[in-house]
């Protein structure tokens, strides 16, 4: 089941690599949030406890509802153009993503010979981390950077599920809360950037240099 979810997660990364609409990024974030929620529910089927339901509920609330809704609100409020602007061509971006993912999957399967790890969720999580970084590097719009950061965070979360030991629930919730506040602050900052610089692209942020 975990493997199926991880593969779905990987497919969402391919979609991110080809889409050129900002709103699709938010849809993908929501989709990834659902996958992560389901993957956190699976252990409950084996050992049911009401306390165990807290994490999936928080995940659902933060990653599927609050964050995507907030980003959508920022996009609407700031009247951001629908299309992303890239620094490299879309047709170049896709092969880079595919190549990176192939390498990650190969390396992960080699590493799995020595260490006991769940290759597919591990490699999918790592691919998301890399795709998140690529988005931050190759996209111009700051709101897309925030989406890239969230994809990276989702990747880390999935990656965490591949690693056997689990973090205590209190810490997991703390992490989710931190991520939410980061996005919230970034939203406020974007609002200010729009009124101060009249734009939301990286090129507007070039005042601080040596």
């Amino acid at each position: 089941m975990e493997n199926v979810l991880s593969i779905l997660f990987c497919l969402s990364l391919f979609y991110v690599a080809v889409t050129s609409r900002v709103k699709e990024y938010v849809t993908i974030l929501r989709f990834q949030g659902i996958i992560l929620t389901i993957s956190s529910i699976i252990p409950i089927f084996y050992h049911f406890s009401f306390l165990g339901l807290i994490l999936p509920t928080t995940l659902l609330l933060v990653k599927v509802y609050l964050i995507p809704r907030y980003i959508n609100k920022v996009i609407l409020d700031l009247d951001i153009k629908r299309y992303i602007e890239t620094t490299i061509q879309q047709m170049v971006f896709m092969p880079i993503v595919i190549l990176s993912m192939i390498i990650i999957f190969l390396v992960s399967s080699i590493l799995a010979h020595n260490t006991e790890l769940n290759v597919i969720p591990f490699a999918s999580g790592f691919s998301a981390i890399l795709v998140g970084i690529y988005i931050i590097m190759f996209r111009k719009k700051l709101i897309v950077h925030v989406c890239g950061f969230l994809i990276l965070e989702n990747g880390i979360f999935l990656f965490g599920t591949a690693v056997a030991s689990e973090l205590p629930m209190m810490i997991e919730i703390g992490i989710l809360l931190d991520v939410f506040v980061v996005v919230f602050l970034m939203g406020i900052a974007l609002n200010r950037i729009r009124s101060t610089f009249e734009g939301f692209e990286v090129s507007h942020l070039g005042r601080l240099k040596d």
């Binding site: 790890l117 931050i136 880390i156 990656f159 690693v163 992490i175 931190d178 980061v182």
Partner: protein, 484 residues
């Protein structure tokens, strides 16, 4: 629970309370009371009078005792100066933001104390990220373009950096697979005790990610840019807080993983990486000191330099390790003075550009002299502390397996000293061509009192060298398995 209440819960409660109190003076008074309690308790814990019982995920050892007293000290002086700083006029848009100042400051204290007292990597991560969240809005205090850009870059870069550190923490879990630690929680001491059993490949990967990720917050090159922008554009008390304590909060995370790795076969690898990062930081500070024309940026690069020196000392080990810990204390105190004086100059001349600041000794004699003294202190002139800690670091390097590094470090430090001096003496002495302002009598302000008090503290610590401080540092070296 009393210790936990004072260190973490009380600042959190007061942060909430400050949000609802409109009067800045009341906010200031209660924040100052919290800061005083925090400082007193840290002192009691440090001296050994009180040993608090903390809940799961938190505990006190020599390292956390050492860092929490530095944090308390920096925080206390920063809060003390904050009200007089807030009274200074700013643009109307920024006036509105002042009401959140103490809320964020108290939240910062909660997060930072939690990070330093945590004994679990997960808890450390949550708390370290929370410190970023509390400081980022404070960087945007002046509500201008530069501060907005600095805040965005800091928030974004540090968040990505901390995310990397989290990957490192997950790798650490992987390194425990197949050992007695498998499936256990990420408590530092359990990992330190069984460090020899950890898988070296994952442990190395873990160290790389945690070190590189946290470097964005410590200001270690080449990940220093967000930190430099933030420190140079933040208001002076916040810049002092960042340079004096926030960087050390991240350093403690690196030290924890370094402590684990120092008991494993991957120690030499980690050591080399730390030394490379440190020397690169010194190199960056050396290069940028030639072209920097903003005096707060110059101080930010000075922080890169000194954190570089501290990490170098940690990497070299032995006597240099002891020197690095002393250096952390002295640097934090000196940086408060430097940033507060730079804040006075900024307020008077309304510019951070070196070219627009002239003849400070004439217009602001008290600030000017204290700024000059602080420059001498940060450059390692006796009797101020940095001289003694640098001597220890240099001695450590000389008798280590990499003595050639001493030449490189001395070369960088010499030019940093000369270039900083050039900038500071230009600001202090050079008269502007069409100078038409008469010299004024500068009022004795709270910032001057704080600077003098800190100079006395700095000199007393370095000359007296309290046994309790030395003993604590020795305990830390024992915890790291270093033989002196």
């Amino acid at each position: 629970m009393f210790g936990f209440f004072i260190f973490i819960l009380l600042p959190l409660l007061i942060a909430g309370l400050c949000y609802f109190i409109k009067d800045l003076k009341i906010q200031y008074i209660i924040s100052l009371i919290v800061a005083t309690f925090h400082l007193c308790l840290s002192l009691f814990v440090f001296v050994g009078i009180y040993n608090p019982q903390l809940p799961t995920f938190f505990s006190i050892d020599s390292l956390s005792k050492f860092f929490i007293i530095i944090l308390s000290n920096v925080y206390f002086w920063v809060v003390l100066v904050s009200f007089s700083f807030l009274k200074r006029s700013v643009i109307p848009k920024a006036e509105h933001g002042k009401k959140y100042y103490f809320t964020l400051l108290n939240f910062y204290l909660t997060a930072n104390s939690a990070a330093m007292l945590s004994n679990h990597f997960g808890m450390y991560w949550v708390a370290a990220e929370a410190t970023t969240l509390s400081v980022a809005p404070l960087i945007y205090y002046y509500r201008n373009e530069e501060s907005l850009e600095a805040m965005w870059k800091y928030l974004f870069l540090v968040s990505v950096g901390i995310a990397f550190a989290f990957i490192g923490i997950l790798f650490l879990t992987l390194s425990a697979n197949g050992t007695v630690l498998e499936g256990k929680q990420l408590f530092y001491w359990e990992f330190i005790n069984d460090a020899k059993q950890l898988n070296p490949i994952w442990l190395k990967a873990s160290f790389i990610f945690i070190f590189v990720g946290l470097s964005t917050k410590i200001g270690i090159a080449p990940m220093h840019s967000g930190d430099v922008d933030a420190t140079s554009n933040a208001p002076s008390p916040i810049a002092a807080l960042m340079s004096g304590s926030l960087r050390l909060t991240s350093l403690i995370g690196v030290m924890r993983i370094f402590q684990i790795i120092s008991f494993s076969s991957s120690f030499e690898f980690a050591r080399l990486l730390i030394i490379i990062g440190a020397v690169l930081s010194l190199f960056v500070a050396f290069v940028f000191m030639f072209k920097v024309n903003n005096y707060k940026r110059m101080l930010a690069y000075s922080s890169v330099e000194h954190l570089g020196l501290i990490t170098l000392g940690l990497g070299i080990g032995g006597l240099a390790f002891v020197g690095a810990l002393y250096h952390a204390v002295y640097n934090s105190i000196t940086k408060i003075i430097l940033f507060l004086m730079a804040g006075n100059i900024h307020y008077h001349f309304k510019s951070r550009e070196v070219d627009k600041v002239r003849n400070v000794l004439n217009f602001l004699p008290k600030t000017g002299w204290l700024f000059l003294l602080a420059y001498l202190a940060i450059s390692g002139i006796p009797p101020f502390g940095i001289f003694f800690s640098e001597i220890k670091i240099f001695g450590g390097i000389l008798f280590s397996d990499k003595p050639f590094l001493l030449v490189v470090v001395m070369f960088f430090l010499l030019f940093i000293f000369v270039n900083m001096g050039k900038i500071i003496f230009t600001m202090l002495y050079k008269k502007s061509e069409n100078e038409n302002r008469d010299s004024q009598i500068e009022q004795f302000e709270l910032t001057h009192f704080i600077a003098i008090a800190l100079f006395i503290l700095l000199t007393v610590i370095s000359v007296v060298s309290p046994d309790i401080l030395y003993q604590n540092i020795v305990n830390i070296t024992i915890d790291f398995g270093i033989k002196l």
